[in-house]
């Protein structure tokens, strides 16, 4: 039997009348709250509050484990025990594995804490377990909660207009926030963006302006009172350089369509699986690099390479960036381990503004080795392009921060 289009529509109407019951849809409180979190007038204050909660819980949780237990475990028990039992105090292997120490009146002096010892088994282990693990755990737990409640798509919609100014769209919030945990999954997540232009902009901004969980954890530990200023400089840089990249790079930046789900009660098993998978992934990918980076930095220090490069580049650091000459060493070492570089910077005597500049420089300096490898996987042309942008950014933004300091009379 063949039906005309009109007959088909009549048939559809008849079937739907018999099978579908219609009623008035009543807006629930959940729906209304869902709408409030998307409208800019109410959504932005709510987003500011959610981010406040995110960072407050992050700081309290990470501080609880790191300052409450791990600092004491590593500094008062682990470090003294290793310093005593590891053979060959002051020799090459000892300085790489346990304690680089220092020389005072011609004598080898042991370090008093794990952040200053720079050994693989002391600083390396302390950074990985004592600082990064709690930070990463709470970061991914909170992120999973926000995702499963249904807040993240709303944040994407809310921030869409702002991200369009830098050639991206609301979905770019996913790689950005993931990168705050670890840049590696952040770079992988850039694949959700549609065009090459968007992926390049996103990857470059992640590598330069988004500090990873390891770095945030150590900043929270050693320079907690400066965190706000450092993050502010990074956020401003993210948008300034994103805007420039959007103007300079050819290509399309399309709109996006997103299905915003209703708010839901999160399922504990889902949260558990997500957090476990992400923390496991971070440990498998990033922890070997933490330990290896620590060893390489130690070897380079022992052979005087970092001191040589530091002396060579010190005039640039002092003259252009306005930071003390002593920061040259840690800033060179930041090529390998940003977190350890922040720890090294924290013991150098300098003004607050110089500390802010130094830590911002460490952040925007160079992607960590794991991120570097991940970017290479995305394409060598993109990697070279991102590195070229990075070099220009470091000099331009570092100089700009110095200039702002001079104008404010604090540099």
């Amino acid at each position: 039997m063949k039906l005309s289009p009109e007959e088909r529509w009549d048939l559809i109407d008849r079937i739907s009348r018999e099978t579908v019951s219609f009623g008035a849809y009543r807006h629930t409180l959940k729906d209304a709250i869902g709408e409030l979190t998307i409208k800019p007038m109410t959504g932005i204050p709510i987003a500011i509050a959610v981010m406040y909660g995110f960072w407050s819980v992050f700081g309290s949780f990470a501080g609880f484990f790191t300052d409450g237990f791990f600092v004491r475990l590593f500094d008062a028990y682990w470090l003294p025990w290793l310093q005593e039992v590891f053979p060959g105090q002051g020799r090459f292997l000892y300085t790489i594995m346990v304690d680089a120490g220092g020389i005072d009146s011609g004598e080898f002096v042991l370090s008093s804490n794990c952040l200053e010892s720079f050994g693989v088994l002391t600083s390396g282990l302390f950074v990985a377990i004592g600082i990064v693990l709690p930070a990463i755990l709470i970061f991914y737990l909170t992120l999973a909660l926000l995702e499963d409640i249904g807040y993240m798509p709303r944040l994407a919609v809310l921030i869409d207009t702002m991200l369009h100014k830098i050639g991206l769209h609301g979905y770019a919030i996913v790689p950005t926030i993931l990168s705050l945990g670890c840049n590696v999954p952040g770079v992988a997540a850039t694949r959700i963006l549609e065009t090459k232009k968007q992926r390049f902009i996103m990857m470059t901004l992640l590598a330069i302006f988004i500090p990873c969980g390891a770095q945030i954890g150590i900043m929270q530990d050693v320079v907690p009172d400066l965190m706000g200023w450092i993050l502010l400089y990074l956020i401003i840089g993210y948008f300034i350089f994103g805007y420039i990249l959007n103007k300079v790079i050819p290509g399309m930046a399309p709109e996006f369509l997103i299905d915003v789900p209703p708010y839901r009660r999160p399922m504990l098993s889902n949260i558990g699986k997500k957090v476990f998978g992400r923390v496991k992934g971070f440990f498998v990918v990033a922890i070997p690099f933490v330990m290896l980076g620590c060893a390489i930095v130690g070897v380079l220090y022992q052979f005087g390479v970092i001191r040589f490069l530091g002396d060579l580049l010190a005039p640039i650091f002092v003259g252009w960036f306005g930071v003390p000459a002593e920061t040259a060493g840690p800033l060179i070492a930041a090529f390998l381990r940003k977190d350890l570089a922040v720890a090294q910077l924290s013991v150098i005597e300098m003004t607050k503004y110089q500390m802010i500049t130094s830590v911002v420089l460490v952040s925007i300096y160079f992607p960590c080795v794991a991120t570097f490898a991940m970017m290479l996987k995305e394409g060598w042309k993109e990697l070279i392009g991102a590195l070229a942008v990075l070099a220009v950014t470091v000099f331009a933004y570092g100089g700009l921060i110095h200039l702002i300091g001079i104008l404010l009379g604090v540099a």
Partner: protein, 172 residues
Amino acid sequence: MAGQSTSQTPSSSSSSTSSVAVIYFAILGIVTVAAGVADLLVTASGSEFAYGILEVPNDLFRGGWGGLIMLFAGLLYLSGVRNMDDIHQFAKVTMGSILIWILSGCDIFARITESIPSSSEETGPWFNTLPGFIEAYAPPYAPAVLLLPFSLVVLYYISKRASGETRGGNSS
């Protein structure tokens, strides 16, 4: 949001209670705005302010960022109290309370995490003593913590509205 919306028809019982609710949340909104402004002013001036069990935080994070959220919470209350029987207006009042819960929840969580480990950094006990643990919860408190019990009143109105809707849904 899913589907199309229709405006709410307030039941007679919810209308009768709404005048009390309006006055209550309007006062709460004014107090919350005042607390937010106080947070911001104290932070901007860099001074300290404590009175009885109240202590206004003056650091950039809790006083500045937190103060701004407190101000938003108060404004949400004040903007929501007009025609509170409408679900969208009531959602604003609820959201004001949620912002206070975020602020006070973070403050309480910070106290819990600080109260458990021992304050000694060298070798010694790992956990705080019982008096030290209890002392960590002693006043003074931030404005958000003091406003927490008052903000919880919204739960009564949420449950009342939910039961009203259930009755309305059954009868229709």
